[in-house]
């Protein structure tokens, strides 16, 4: 008797999916997007994860939004805003906006959302918002936000602070909210089967007009070759992380094309300068390593040209970027001299941890770097691991909870706004979550950069920081990595710098 229901379930599920797949072919307009994995949660105030942004930025809005190239801030749930003084911002809210469940969006929603993201007793994704103090509700459509410290890029940061409905959110558990998120965004979540698909449907009442694509389906497909095959088969419309070497293949297919964003991720060799390998503690060795790397060849060969050499972790679009600093030229002779000066005329041996998840083609890039460093005498053993193993190694160390840090490891940082505060605080400033460097002057400069509101003064500080980054090399910046997507020609879509695939950017041809 017990066997019957099980077999029936199997059959029923097969039949059910059969009909569902057929339904997709007719009916509403659908765009299918392949992700590498499931987003962890639909809760915008929790950790975002690698694939989370695609879901969250379709479901939720902030008070403002960043354009696709990150260069301008445009109105979203706030129609206008004004900086009253260094520490006070006033927002006028859009009237008549409703959450997907019908709850009205008001000043109370803003207060609730900000307080929720700052809740010290819960798991929150809130580094960018810790400067926020109090929220004053003036009336239903006006709020005042008070800051604890001045923040020159506050307005760009809050584009990522998503508004949630207070009544619904308070009435369900955090887990429930994560599985059934409700926002004001252009799409609402209608189905989420982990490991299979995430189905989003257009929000008829969206304040900025109903998006043209009726339905978005996100499918988690972990294997890159499978994603490419899905694109070629026409069963998926957009794939992320298109292998650079597959670009000619996609280009040659008349039904497909390649899209690339303008690059958010800076790729670097990161080092433990607190307790790591002794040779790396000498700045001349780090300079030698920077001279030994042929950045342009690396980009042209391994990345098929989809990258831009970098001098420091400052992206050209970041506030205070200075073109005075150009990437170290490829100069193996100079590198050898510097190594000899530092007392390593015959080089040394060092381990280099990397992962295909940390940067595009992470293992290949590391192997190429190892060969370049090998040419000047530094013997590099490449150690490829899973991304998670790497993260477990470098995050939050040194840490009372233990863990050994590799002396040299591949790293990338993808700042969500065109500003260097967050990478500097995370990677360079002592105590940062991925920082292995100690320089009191630098630490002070980073604090100044983070809070200076006078543009001219801020640029000056930024110049000083870049000079120190360039000369002392707490990390060895390599290049800005462009992300490539394979796209079906039946859709109109441009890749965004923030890497998110948003339904409102997509139209069918």
């Amino acid at each position: 008797m017990r066997r019957m229901p099980f077999i029936l379930t199997l059959l029923a599920s097969l039949l059910l999916f059969n009909s569902l797949v057929h339904a997709q072919n007719t009916g509403p307009t659908t765009v299918t997007i392949a992700l590498t994995d499931d987003p962890p949660s639909g809760d915008p105030h929790k950790t975002r994860g690698a694939n989370g942004g695609h879901l969250l930025f379709n479901l939720f809005d902030g008070l403002v939004e960043l354009s696709g190239d990150m260069m301008s801030v445009t109105p979203a749930l706030a129609t206008s805003w004004e900086q009253i003084d260094d520490l006070t911002w006033s927002f006028t809210l859009r009237e008549g906006v409703k959450f997907h469940n019908g709850e009205p969006f008001t000043a109370e929603s803003v207060r609730y959302s900000i307080e929720r993201v700052l809740d010290p007793n819960a798991v929150r994704f809130n580094t960018d918002f810790r400067q926020i103090g109090e929220v004053d509700v003036v009336d239903d459509y006006h709020v005042l936000i008070h800051l604890k410290t001045p923040d020159p890029v506050f307005i760009a940061k809050i584009a990522g602070l998503h508004m949630v409905p207070p009544v619904y959110t308070a009435s369900v558990s955090e887990e429930e909210f994560g599985a059934h998120p409700v926002g004001t965004g252009p799409y609402k979540l209608v189905e989420w089967v982990l490991g299979q698909r995430l189905v989003l449907e257009a929000n008829d009442d969206y304040w900025n007009g109903r998006p043209s694509v009726d339905r978005l389906i996100f499918r988690p497909i972990p294997e890159a070759s499978t994603r490419l095959a899905e694109l070629q088969a026409g069963t998926v419309d957009i794939i992320t992380g298109l292998n650079y070497d597959a670009i000619p293949l996609v280009d040659a297919d008349p039904s497909l094309r390649v899209e690339a964003n303008s690059g958010r991720r800076t790729v670097m060799m990161h080092m433990d300068l607190l307790n790591g390998a002794k040779p790396l503690q000498d700045v001349r060795v780090r300079q030698a390593m920077s001279y030994a790397v042929d950045r342009q060849l690396l980009i042209d060969a391994v990345l098929n040209g989809y990258g831009t050499p970098l001098a420091t972790i400052f992206r050209p679009d970041m506030a205070g970027y200075s073109a005075d600093f150009q990437p170290y030229p490829y100069d193996p002779e100079r590198a050898k001299e510097l190594l000899a000066e530092a007392g390593y005329p015959n080089g040394f041996t060092i381990r280099f941890m990397t992962s295909d998840g940390i940067v595009n083609k992470g293992v290949e890039v590391a192997e190429a770097l190892a060969a370049m460093l090998g040419d000047v005498g530094i013997k590099v053993e490449v150690l490829p691991v899973a991304l998670q193993v790497m993260r477990d190694m470098y995050i939050g160390n040194p840490d009372p909870a233990g863990g050994n840090v590799e002396p040299l490891f591949m790293f990338n940082y993808g700042a969500a706004i065109p500003d260097a505060t967050s990478p500097l605080k995370a990677l360079i400033q002592t105590g940062g979550i991925e920082a292995f460097y100690e320089d009191p002057v630098m630490n002070e400069l980073i604090n100044e950069y983070g809070s200076e509101t006078n543009v001219e003064k801020r640029n000056q500080v930024a110049h000083e920081i870049q000079e120190k980054l360039y000369n002392d090399l707490p990390v060895i910046a390599l290049y800005l990595q462009l992300d490539t997507y394979g796209v079906n020609e039946r859709i109109d879509w441009k890749a965004r710098k923030d890497e998110y695939i948003l339904g409102k950017d997509i139209a069918l041809r």
């Binding site: 190429a368 190892a370 060969a371 490829p384």
Partner: protein, 274 residues
């Protein structure tokens, strides 16, 4: 005797060739297998348009010579395969014999340990090992051997259970032969056929498992060329540059075929009942 079986002859010839390749890798390889040439990446094999004679089987993503890497890969793949089979086979056969022949408490305890091993996800064990000990050749062998003995133990035990009630064994026992003697003289030869079959199958499996571990990001460091890692890192290139996954893949297929053909033949030879 070997020549009577065509498949076994073929298998032996292939294996001898591979052994020669492994032994003479430095002399036979046209290039240093680790030498990169970023300006000549993904060069096709010599007989394909744009191919050059400098790289007969073409080059990989970093411009390394594929022929040289396949030749050097023979060493590692055979080393991993043989070490794992020897380690796992010896341990598994011994434990299986003990369990099957002694029965009782020894059997119970051993078989429950086997069950724990089998019920345990291999991947978890592999990740823990690789994370704690670091990715190296020795650790790959260790991980594969630690999980590989179980198959021998189970099959050997099952065979012993069946054999030990056969008349000649009960007769030997009745005549007062000691356990050890019975086990070695009468039981072991009977289970040997199964062990050979498993070993020949496992030698292939191990070579493939090494590839699978690399696929999962847990393999041997890339500086050591292995067929498995070449195949795993070339898997995105089936269409883009077919020579990347094809040649190491063929090397694996050929080796596993040869080993299995030979295993068949060995079974016939070692089987005392035929």
């Amino acid at each position: 005797m070997l020549l009577r079986s065509r498949t076994a002859t073929a298998g032996a010839v292939i294996l001898v060739c591979l052994a020669v390749l492994a032994a003479l890798a430095p002399q036979l390889s046209p290039h240093d297998p680790a030498r990169q040439d970023l300006r000549a990446r993904l060069a096709p094999p010599a007989w394909v348009a744009k191919g050059t004679n400098a790289h007969v089987l073409g080059t990989d993503q970093l411009g390394r010579d594929i022929l040289s890497r396949v030749i050097y890969g023979t060493r590692i793949s055979l080393l991993v395969g043989v070490s794992v089979v020897l380690l796992a086979g010896t341990l598994g056969t011994l434990l299986g014999l003990l369990a099957g022949f002694l029965g009782g408490k020894v059997d119970t305890v051993l078989m429950r340990i086997v069950d724990v091993f089998l019920a345990f996800p291999f991947l978890l064990l592999a990740i823990v090992f690789m994370a704690m000990l670091g990715a190296s050749l020795g650790n790959i062998i260790l991980v594969l051997a630690i999980t590989g003995w179980v198959e021998y133990a189970r099959v050997v035990r099952a065979q012993v259970l069946s054999v030990r009630e056969l008349e000649y064994v009960t007769a030997a026992r009745a005549l007062g032969a000691r356990n050890l003697v019975i086990m070695l003289k009468h039981v072991l030869p009977n289970v040997f056929a199964s062990v050979i079959v498993i070993a020949s199958l496992q030698l292939g499996t191990v070579i493939i498992s090494e590839a699978s571990l690399t696929f999962l990001g847990l393999g041997i460091p890339p500086s050591i060329p292995t067929w498995g890692s070449m195949l795993a890192s070339g898997r995105e290139y089936f269409v883009l540059a077919w020579w990347l996954p094809t040649f190491p893949g063929l090397a694996i297929v050929l080796t596993v075929l040869a080993v299995n053909f030979l295993g068949d033949w060995l079974r016939d030879v070692f089987d005392p009942t035929l």
